[in-house]
Amino acid sequence: MNVILLRFGELYLKGHNRNYFESTLIKNIKSMLEGEEFKLEMTFGRYVISNYAQERQGKIIEKLKKVFGLYSLSPAVEVDAEVETIKSEVVKIDCKNKSFKVFVKRADKSFPISSMDFAKDLGELILDNNENSSVDLYNPQCEIHVDIRMNHKAYIFDKIIKCQGGLPLGCSGKGLLLLSGGIDSPVAGYLMAKRGMELEALHFHSYPYTSEQAKDKVVKLASLLTSYTGDIRLHVVSFTRVQEEIHKRCRPEFMITIMRRIMMRVAERICEKYNLGAIVTGESLGQVASQTMQSMTVTGSVVKEKPIFRPCIVMDKEDIIEISRDINTYDTSILPYEDCCTVFLPKNPVIKPTIKQAENEEQYIDVKSLVDECLEKEELIQIKREQ
């Protein structure tokens, strides 16, 4: 019978919480495979997926590769742990013109042949049945694994496919991702989700200075993220008046600093209102004026009770782009619609602001009522996972 073996990464580290992590992982696997027919079994430290339609195997593997907490998987053949039965399966593996190595693991010590001896037997069998094949214990082109388990079953496979790793989604609470429409913020969301964080997203738009397409683009980005993060609730907040007010009353070089301080305040209020545990941004140290250490100190200082996570902080743009291509958000991110950060852009934004300077500028605007107004006009968009 064809099955898929699943291995998990860090869960074994989690001591007493392991049950919680595992049950979350199982729930996530089931949710990811919604609509597929399959059986999921936990057998001796491993998950086995079976009883699915053979033609769905490729699709199921693709979906499982997006489940956080899974470290790797292998499509395998499950047979009774009998010497001849195992041999009859191993002989089917094509090793012609290749070097190979056989790995035998014997959890079931009642199996009559020792692991070493059985590996040797199987190696000979492969050599006899594959022209130009050779054994290479150090750098084989083909790895053949035979796993003999306590349930009296053996699993034979020759591929180990790497998965996402990380922690099961939901294990680390729920955060609010600031989603601008650029390249970095979806990557930040993905990275946090990989550490088990579920997400809601917050977008600021500035109609009529920005277009409806700019908002549609963010909906599309959130929707692309859902294939990793599950459903996302997107909070869309009109930022037009805030920007007009800052533009009118504050010094131009502080436009972005004050704007981002207000964004952070709105974000924290939304976190409180919807019981979200952290603010997540796509900032990367030094990338632009608003992402210097001083700027982040000043924008972060308005957030009093939530942590701000910036998973891209140490990353080069190229590395961020690489991830955005992997998670399929890049092509959408680079669509040329202006986001609210490009409106009222000063020629020389301050790069080393201080909290005191920012507070001085803010005397000229009514921060509280602007933040209140943002929350009053919040629009909610439910985005379901892309299948």
Partner: protein, 372 residues
């Protein structure tokens, strides 16, 4: 609603929609089939061809039905291409469906010249005169600029051709001219002329390429050999007949005078407003305006909230500067960003023009106040 983006597309005549339905649901026969009902349709199509030629002011040449101006322009240019030493000349003011074909020829190793525009939006005739020579195979110049309403002096271009490169073909993209300006194609002796139905109240998805001498043209799609082999594919009969209806129901001279009155009224109502400037061009159908200090796209979006619709031409954003046509006329980035295009139709009323001007100025100042 006040719709001021008629250079983008026009509302189809209701009567044309009825005609469409008749040829879609009753007289739906394939003009290439052999029975009498089909032959009847084929004859009707031939009638449309003659009608269009008369409108162009000629009895010579052929009419090829296409899917629209983009296809007509592609067919005209690529279908005229020859191997060897030949050169191709285009204006920098051309629509992307010409300009990008020119870039394609360039990428294929052909010698392509681009002729810039003068400040008033017309082709720089002196440069054109210098660029063409005895190796020029094709000159492609639009009749009326879709961005500015500038009308190129095709008679002059025809003379330059006669004098400097009589062997060259002249292709004219007439999308913003046909059924809008009174003209006679024989005055400038174009070899190829492009028409699009939806710009004059016809349906979308149908266009025409007029070809003076079809034997010089090569087909670019292969198939059943319809349209004399120049454009295979079953003719879009309902659209062609609805296009004919539109042509029959447009009085070019009368509309020209009426729309000229609309444009004059618009200018009169807007020219005194501080910060507003416009480009004086010949076509009454198109007016290019600049609103100093305000992004044209922002103005366009703010106006849609008042149910007024204007065009911004090619999109330009802070990150991606660019409007090739306006740049070629020497406009700077700030002028280009603050540009909008207003385009008229004879269906507009003077009252609507006045109201639109009032709202546009009002909206402009409201935004300006916030962004300055």
């Amino acid at each position: 609603m006040i719709y001021l983006d008629n250079a983008a597309t026009t509302k189809m005549f209701e009567g044309g929609a009825d005609i469409y339905k008749k040829y879609a649901c009753q007289s739906f026969f394939n003009p290439s089939a052999g029975y009498n009902k089909s032959i009847e349709i084929a004859k009707e199509l031939d009638g449309v061809r003659e009608h269009i030629k008369r409108r162009l002011g000629t009895t010579k040449g052929s009419i090829i039905f296409t899917s629209g101006a983009t296809e007509s322009n592609n067919l005209a240019i690529i279908g005229s291409k020859r191997n060897g030493k030949w050169e191709y000349v285009f204006s920098l003011g051309e629509h992307p469906s010409v300009y990008n074909v020119a870039r394609f020829l360039e990428s294929q190793g052909h010698i392509v010249h681009f002729v810039g525009l003068t400040k008033n939006g017309q082709v720089d005739y002196e440069v054109l005169r210098r660029v063409v020579n005895d190796k020029t195979r094709l000159i492609s110049v639009m009749h009326v600029s879709n961005e500015t309403g500038a009308v190129n002096d095709l008679v002059k271009i025809g003379e330059i051709r006669k004098e400097r490169c009589p062997q060259a073909l002249l292709h004219v993209d007439g999308v913003q001219a046909f059924c809008k300006l009174p003209f006679n194609i024989e005055d400038f002796n174009a070899d190829l002329y492009t028409i699009s139905a939806h710009k004059f109240h016809g349906p979308k998805g149908v266009g025409v390429l007029y070809v003076k001498n079809p034997s010089g043209l090569k087909n670019i799609v292969y198939g059943g050999g319809q349209e004399g082999g120049y454009r295979s594919g079953t003719e879009n009969v309902p659209c062609i007949m609805a296009m004919k209806y539109a042509i029959e129901n447009i009085d070019v001279e009368k509309n020209y005078q009426y729309v000229k009155g609309l444009k004059d009224c618009f200018i009169e109502n807007i020219e005194k407003a501080d910060g507003v400037s416009y480009l004086q061009t010949e076509s009454p159908y198109i007016l290019s305006l600049s609103f100093s200090g305000v992004n044209g796209e922002t103005l366009m979006r703010a106006l849609q909230d008042k149910d007024i619709y204007v065009g911004v031409g090619s999109a330009c954003s802070t990150k991606k500067a660019g409007n090739r046509v306006l740049e070629s006329m020497g406009m700077n980035i700030d002028e280009i960003k603050s540009h909008i295009r207003v385009s008229f139709s004879e269906e507009l009323k003077l009252d609507e023009i006045r109201k639109a001007c009032h709202e546009i100025i009002d909206t402009y100042y409201t935004i300006l106040e916030k962004v300055k």
